[in-house]
Symmetry: C2
């Protein structure tokens, strides 16, 4: 096999498996080439990715070592993406009676959720999360793509406990403008003790749901290492969780004028 | 930029964007190389992918043409994956009181859901689905990864209609051993008329939920082009939907002996 063919295959495998350590031995056996040749292939890929902003390839030494790929977007690239996203969301046809903003198509889009997941992973990777947690339903695609980019499992709290998941731990929490009491629960076997949990959701208003997830994580004797949303409302300014990251801020919706006022968080990195 | 560096970048972009047509112009401008050189780069990638079973690269001529990548697993590779998956699921610790099988960790795993999504995409790509539909909650990750592999949007039917999604269409359906009546609804704006819908879910017993989704698709004047599950029970043999594809069959669970009997569908392709 020619070097250029090996590079095509190694590049594809790394791109499809972000944050996974793949040993040189694996590549060597798969491609029938000496480890020294594979090493040179990887140097070429590393340089190409770096120079074009496609991400970072790290070589980790030792018995458990190998090669690891992570996406790494520049601040400029992230701002371009967030500006595009907020332009899409400002379309006045997205205003739902009652003054809500229709975002479901974006949250469920494979393309948007992949990019958002990669951005969340980039922001929180140094916190070494071992699990990504969300609560059903709309946050699931973004949580999954974040988990994929981090190469960790996703766990999903349910609104009701499910007979098909065995014993569960449940909590009650207050959320929404109606100040309603909700329940959420998570199967006991889903989250080990001492897990480092990154909480992901689509939208935050008062922060009750995020606070509920934080409490749930505590019940599992695990630790929250970050809370991230795609969008948070500007009002109320004080949320029930103190430390969270949002990509976008919903400043307000003027239903009469058909205006949706969204700002981007330009201090993400 | 050297040819090998261009190949690293093109291979990465194609791998991350399955079933998306990317024009040679795009690569040419991005990489600062003539279209003839890009064409040669792509031929090398095509050969490498083909010879190692990494997927299929197609060059489409014309103004709307370009290059398209699709994963394409061999029958043998799929059978190896399904055997691994069923071995994992046969672990007797997965038996939940009541005789259920704990599969949530697999369904929510970024790694498993990616591969399953790619397999579903491969099976149904010739039906040209324009949307992937599931009903919340456990099927969402697999539906999302199928949609990603097909490069189409995912839509998710909700158990209740949501005030934040605007007008919706709802149906009632009967499912589960308890023969309970459930509701599912989908925002009117989520699915255009004449869409070609691939229905994806994690598990099928009687087929009531799949039948409900089929009825919902009909309400949108859209068409079902396929129904696929990760696992279906062997009993009842007659399901409420006649034509569906399952990766695995749950033959039965012997709670006393701690035995889980799963067979794989070896006639997928």
């Amino acid at each position: 096999m020619r070097r250029s063919e090996r590079i095509a295959l190694i590049s594809s495998m790394l791109s499809k498996n972000p944050n996974k350590i793949i040993s040189l031995n694996h590549f060597s056996q798969w491609l029938g080439a000496a480890k020294s040749s594979i090493s040179e292939d990887i140097d070429i890929i590393k340089t190409a990715y770096k120079n074009s902003g496609q991400g970072e390839i790290t070589t980790l030494p030792g018995a458990a070592g190998g090669v690891r790929y992570r996406t790494k977007r520049s601040v400029d690239d992230i701002n371009v993406f967030l500006n595009d996203l907020s332009d899409t969301l400002r379309d006045q046809r997205r205003i739902i009676p009652g003054g809500y903003l229709y975002m479901t198509d974006i949250m469920f889009s494979p393309e948007y959720s992949s990019i958002i997941g990669e951005i969340f992973a980039q922001i929180f990777i140094d916190k070494a999360p071992t699990h990504v947690l969300t609560v059903e339903t709309k946050g699931i695609p973004i949580a999954l793509m974040t988990a994929k980019a981090l190469n960790v499992p996703m766990v999903v709290a349910r609104r009701d406990s499910r007979v098909t998941e065995g014993p569960s731990v449940g909590i009650s929490y207050v959320s929404g403008s109606g100040q309603k009491i909700h329940n959420m629960s998570l199967a006991k076997r889903a989250l080990p003790e001492n897990s480092r949990v990154l909480i992901i959701d689509d939208f935050m208003k008062g922060g009750g749901t995020a606070q509920g997830m934080t409490e749930l994580v505590g019940e599992f004797k695990a630790q929250v290492v970050g809370i991230a949303m795609v969008m948070a409302t500007a009002v109320p300014k004080e949320k029930l969780v103190s430390d969270f990251t949002t990509l976008l801020v919903l400043e307000g919706i003027d239903v009469q004028k058909g205006e949706i006022n969204i700002s981007i968080n330009d201090k993400l990195l």
